[in-house]
């Protein structure tokens, strides 16, 4: 069964550095998402992406965040200048339509 994959599984970075989290969605899916989960808190929506543009974003997704689908398979989340409070588990998801979202295993981002 096809799955969403994410790399790296764990990323450690220093405050102020840029990070790029990578995702490979399921191949026939058209909608892509990023969520995050700060330790001990709920899973929170960050952004959805369809037809090569952002279709929805949360208030968390400020100018420090960007998403891109640089080729036909990858979907990336970039944080330009990381802050301590960006430390979280970041989940990528994809779907054929905007329900039944399938999640990747997550990237644990630690900002020191």
């Amino acid at each position: 069964e096809p799955e969403v994959t994410q790399t790296p599984s764990h990323q450690v970075t220093q405050m102020g550095q840029e990070v790029i989290l990578r995702c490979v969605p399921i191949s026939n899916h058209l909608y892509f998402y990023w969520y995050r989960q700060i330790l001990g808190q709920k899973v929170e929506f960050l952004v959805s992406f369809y037809n090569n543009e952002i279709s929805e974003k949360s208030e968390i997704f400020d100018d420090q965040f960007s998403v891109e689908r640089p080729d036909g398979s990858n979907f990336t989340l970039k944080i330009r200048s990381t802050k301590l409070e960006d430390s979280a588990m970041y989940f990528c998801a994809s779907s054929t339509q905007y329900y039944e979202q399938y999640f990747g295993p997550g990237t644990r981002l630690t900002v020191t």
Partner: protein, 109 residues
Amino acid sequence: AQRVTQPEKLLSVFKGAPVELKCNYSYSGSPELFWYVQYSRQRLQLLLRHISRESIKGFTADLNKGETSFHLKKPFAQEEDSAMYYCALLYSGFQKLVFGTGTRLLVSP
């Protein structure tokens, strides 16, 4: 505003006991609700979608619009059911899932 509430952080039962994981929602539109499960160190997996009305791994969930609830039930818990369970509401038209805080189910032998 849309919200999902899971009042129990932890639910501990013995194998063979019935299980009910509570979920209440707040949403002005027509809700689409899901249960996701996360086994230890694994990804979030879709367990149930209310529209499909399926029973997966013995779990069922019924949408009760009057009580704004979507509780997850299983008549006889198994040890392998131990996991985190998240209730989620699709905020229709905005393509985002709103999650509850999750309930950890622990099934003891």
